[in-house]
Subunit: 155 residues, 2 copies
DNA sequence: TGACATAACATGTTATAACATGTACTGTTC
DNA sequence: GAACAGTACATGTTATAACATGTTATGTCA
């Protein structure tokens, strides 16, 4: 008996353990989702990580967040948040201001242009979700979310 | 009620849909697994992608595979297989030979050194799996694998 | 208060990813 | 069999990731 994943990556041997298969399934599915998201965002000139930052800063509101806090909230950690924000500042999507109280901190805030871009991008991403994921059984998605949380808990 | 993921990325609002939460869960879990794998492989001087290539070429045996075939079998596609193989050839982990029958093809094969490295790496990866994932319920892992396959099917 | 540890960010460097384009080769069609 | 389209790979370039190290600011404690 061959699994779906086995066929996809044309592997002859069955997986040595279910844990291995689960791990590769997660990595492969994530790579495909990431790729699809990147393609959806491409016309707007931003990457999935940058989109993530915009959502984080929109959530933070006018008070903004310092670089370290942005890094902590990212779905996938990146080393080098300063330069990530550099690039977004150059695109006028965020502003940065050195904090008066603690001059080590640099507070980043989303700009009106950033908010506007988020508004433009959201329908495209929702369209993607609706056409590809919404058809899936809600119970299955919940099990998936729970299972993944259990794995992260174990790491 | 807040989900586990919501706490992890410190998001105030609940997710707009279960599909969104599932997607972010997958991406976050994959990022963590990828990071852990990269750390495990670091002492051996190879990346997860390079490890993937080695397993693919070991599976292919002495007849080897051309670059395109290697690319198709990768868990996460990379654009630029030639230079990925360049680097691995420089490390003496693979050899490349232009195919006599069809001179467009370049057949890549794993070297004894590559095989030896795989043998060294495998125990470390299995140790990681055993200590973090093996404790998880087998049924849950199976559901996870099935759910992820359903998502990939929908993409 | 001055030495010290720590935090937050900046900067320099290297390697790799990502993208676009170019080249050699093969099979096909007229 | 000459033009053509398609395949597989190579190469050049740019951007970003990854890593190490440096700098400035803050809090702590002798």
């Amino acid at each position: 008996m061959t699994s779906r994943l086995q066929d996809e990556i044309k592997q002859g041997k069955p997986f040595s353990s279910r844990a291995t298969e689960a791990m590769l399934s997660i990595l492969r599915t994530a790579a495909m989702l990431e790729h699809a998201t990147a393609e959806t965002l491409r016309p707007f000139g931003i990457t999935p990580t940058q989109h993530n930052v915009l959502r984080i800063l929109r959530g933070a509101g006018p008070s903004g967040l310092c670089g370290r806090e942005v890094g902590e909230r990212l779905v996938a950690r990146v080393p080098d948040v300063p330069r990530l924000l550099d690039r977004m500042e150059a695109m006028h999507l965020v502003t940065r201001e050195r904090d008066a109280a603690d001059r080590r901190h640099v507070t980043a805030r989303i700009t009106p242009k950033g908010l506007q871009l988020l508004d433009q991008v959201t329908p495209a991403l929702e369209r993607f979700e609706r056409s590809h994921l919404a058809q899936l059984d809600d119970r299955m998605l919940q099990d998936l979310v729970d299972g993944l949380a259990a794995i992260r808990e174990a790491l």
